[in-house]
Amino acid sequence: MTRRRDFLNLLGAGGLVAVSPQLAWAAAPVSTNVANAANYRRLLVLVELKGGNDGLNTVVPYASPLYPQLRPRIALKREEVLPLDEQTAVHPSLAPLRPLWQAGEVAVVQSVGYPQANLSHFRSIEIWDTASRSDQYLDDGWLGRAFSANPPPAEYAADGVAVGSAELGPLSARKARVVAIANADQFQNLARMAQPRSGQGGGALQHLLKVESDVNAAAQRLSGSHVFATAFPSGAFGEAVKAGCQIVAKGTGVAVLRLTLNGFDTHHNQPGPHANLLKQLAEGLVALRAALSELGRWNDTLVMTYAEFGRRPKENQSSGTDHGTAAPHFVLGGRVIGGLYGEAPRLKQLDGNGNLPFAIDFRQLYATVLERWWGMPSADILGGRFASLPLLRS
């Protein structure tokens, strides 16, 4: 099979079409029609809330009498939550996001999930990462498939970079140029040891050679030491945000950043740790917006949270919550039309396991990214048609 990059080289300069003035930078190959050229100048930042965030204590149905009944110990008090309207409020730790909300740059999409929810961390995140059905097993991540269908410009330093986690998740794909960087400074120091390698053999060996080649290529194009006026919060997530902004500042191009915030599997004594996690999230997102605004990139940036699942509405005996299903997610950015989307959690209609029904399929969020953000068809990538959400200004 012709590998994607080879194919790209075969096309040569003649195959590169500048589609429109604002796309003049784009070296994406255009096979038959211009509409295939994805607008990868627009950056996607995915934020993984690893472990399964408790949606009900993040976006709180504070007016519902069922909410405190289900959670006698861990429900947030009416007087401490930050109301968005008469029904819905957010956790007090999200206070730093208030200016963004007021600027209309935050969309809150409620009750995101999928049919036949799987409650295993590993299987459910695999479903989210690969955009598969609950009973379907796919190898490549959904973004990996998007890159294969519509490759980002060859001169980009990488198609996607995962910062702060070793796993590629949705970026994973045999053909895509993606790297995971746990620590950006160290990466630069060490990358001199990586050699460009030609692929041979199979399985583990091929993986090793590919990683080494990708490191070599990325290191040459990703070194960043931009001085930001923005102060980044301390902690692992703040560092990941900072490293991500450095990569963007370098200006050599990257289509996707994936940042990971760990620790949401709150089975036990949830309130303190959960408040701390949401604080890290809010402060990190505020820093991200400030730094990307400094670079003049905020209007070209879409931020989206995701997680394997939400948590069960009824608290458990340990002042924690067990694995659940649907949950709210945040979409932020300079072109976002702020507000509430989806449906409030239907606490009266819990399933046999005591879990919430979903209203928005997570693949609708992905379709929104593919179609409305990057301007590419989504049905082939997502294995079906999913209605995108009207949460972006054109």
């Binding site: 041979q200 050679l209 694995h323």
Partner: protein, 501 residues
């Protein structure tokens, strides 16, 4: 004529008996896969055995207890931190951190020195199967006790191991059994015991989990003593239906139901295959191994024997297809290169830096392993480890050089120069946190790690022999012809093939 022929036949027969030794390549393969690395002296002695004899020897020498005395880990009641002042808390946390490092160093030292590396590999295998983590358990003592339990049963009976580990205090804490009570179940253990410990995902229903969680109620923990405690008053003794069977089951009864399922032996066999043979289990072969396991009542040794003597284990296409774990890379390098490591403390930080923090797997599914060990960050950290280990034959001079004292190398002043920054750069963030005696111990331990390349290389006739000793498949970028000495060793160890086994 006849006499001559039969004499010749006898000569031929005896020479094939001698040649029945499996040879050095097979010996290396068996040692690398069943233990950590392949020390040249072991390669020589195993090469003279047949595969059967070699596997019997490995299995017969299995241990149930460590060779080295574990460090003393006093049980500290959780919650003691709650009453303490800020200062006391910090001091306690520092002490806990140092104790955690000591525990890791002890296990790595055991891996380096044990006469039965297979026992340690299996202990590590079960640590990654019946996962508990110090991050949540927060007791070095309970983590050590679990480690000793895993070793006791490592090559024993899987059923006994399952029952024992389910009531192990660290596990009871890690999977929230202690808060699973009648009327208010916590499903964590019930789910993971089915998904990850026995059946595998998709071989049970959500209802099975709910019912099993009820059966496991009452398995609890005594925080004063740090011991397992049965609490009958919070046990749900009603009727449950689990995997189609109905009864007033308790937790042990549910575990027995799980052990009755053919899926359990198949799940374990496939996992053993991925550990020892290749990333893609051969269905017919794993069924044969599962059958050996089940028909012997879950004798782990029988399963391993079936696996090690199967053709898949020895197949040429399965050589060099497994990615070395950080422990494989670090402990294996020390053993293969016969590097003397009087104190393994620095290695605890090295493997952690490479993504395998012993006693603290990332989550209940354990380290994903395989290709996931290798990403941009860890691949570079692996190369850095090898480069520093093999550049100067002495780990510490490299750090001294970075500090600008190359020409006036002097042990005492150099040691003082090993500051937080160097420790962090060399061994990852955690190492910079070491203080006082442990820090001094770390610095001493680093300077004691030595590779005597001259005497190691003496046993090899040529560069090709060195390559075979270090790589499971030919080098991807062979060192230039004529490269000798430590440069040859370094060139081969930095080759991508060195990351494989």
């Amino acid at each position: 004529m006849l006499r001559f022929l039969s004499a010749a036949a006898i000569v031929l027969w005896s020479s094939t008996t001698l040649a029945a030794g499996m040879g050095e390549d097979d010996a290396r393969h068996l040692l690398n896969r069943s233990g950590f690395g392949a020390p040249p002296s072991s390669v020589t002695s195993f090469s003279r055995l047949s595969r059967n004899q070699a596997v019997d020897r490995l299995l017969a020498s299995a241990r149930t207890a460590p060779v080295l005395t574990p460090p003393v880990q006093e049980y500290v009641r959780p919650g003691r931190l709650k009453d303490a002042s800020e200062e006391e808390k910090k001091a306690l946390q520092r002490a806990e951190f140092a104790k955690g490092a000591e525990l890791r160093a002890w296990w790595l030292q055991e891996m380096l020195q044990t006469p039965s590396p297979l026992s340690e590999r299996m202990t590590l295998f079960w640590h990654n199967h019946f996962v508990s983590s110090q991050q949540k358990v927060k007791s070095g003592r309970l983590m050590l006790d679990q480690n000793l339990l895993l070793r006791r049963h490592a090559l024993g009976n899987f059923g006994d191991l399952l029952h024992a580990v389910a009531k192990d205090p660290a596990m009871v804490i890690y999977l929230d059994s202690a808060t699973n009570r009648k009327g208010q179940p916590n499903e964590n253990f019930a789910r993971e015991v089915m998904e990850l410990f026995t059946l595998g995902e998709g071989r049970y229903s959500e209802q099975d989990i709910k019912e099993a969680a009820r059966a496991f109620t009452g398995w609890s923990f005594n925080p004063e003593q740090g011991t397992y405690q049965w609490r009958p008053f919070i046990h749900d003794d009603g009727e449950k239906t689990v995997l189609g069977q109905r009864g007033n089951f308790d937790g042990d009864a549910v575990l027995d139901i799980l052990l009755q399922q053919p899926a359990t032996a198949e799940f374990i066999a496939a996992k053993l295959w991925r550990e020892f043979v290749s990333p893609t289990p051969d269905m017919a072969e794993t069924r044969r191994i599962a059958e050996a396991c089940r028909s012997s009542g879950y004798d782990i040794r029988r399963a391993l024997k079936a696996l090690f003597l199967g053709k898949g284990f020895w197949a040429k296409e399965n050589r060099g297809v497994l990615v070395k774990s950080p422990v494989d890379l670090v402990v294996g390098s020390m053993r293969t290169l016969e590097i003397s490591v009087p104190d393994a403390l620095p290695l605890a930080f090295t493997v952690r830096n490479l993504g395998q923090d012993l006693f603290a797997p990332p989550n209940v599914k354990g380290w994903p392993g395989g290709e996931a060990w290798i990403n941009a960050t860890t691949l570079l950290a692996r190369k850095q480890f090898i480069e520093r280990l093999l550049r100067n034959e002495q780990f510490v001079t490299q750090m001294a050089r970075a500090d600008g004292v190359e020409s006036s190398y002097e042990q005492g002043s150099m040691r003082n120069r090993l500051r937080t920054k160097e420790l962090r750069e060399e061994f990852g963030k955690g190492a910079g946190r070491l203080e006082g005696d442990t820090r001094m111990r770390m610095v001493q331990a680093v300077s004691d790690i030595r590779f005597d390349s001259t005497s190691w290389l003496k046993r090899f006739d040529n560069a090709a022999a060195v390559e075979r000793a270090l790589l499971p498949i030919p080098a991807i970028s062979p060192p230039a012809v004529g490269t000798t000495g430590i440069a040859l060793v370094r060139g081969l160890a930095l080759d991508p093939a060195y990351q494989l086994k």
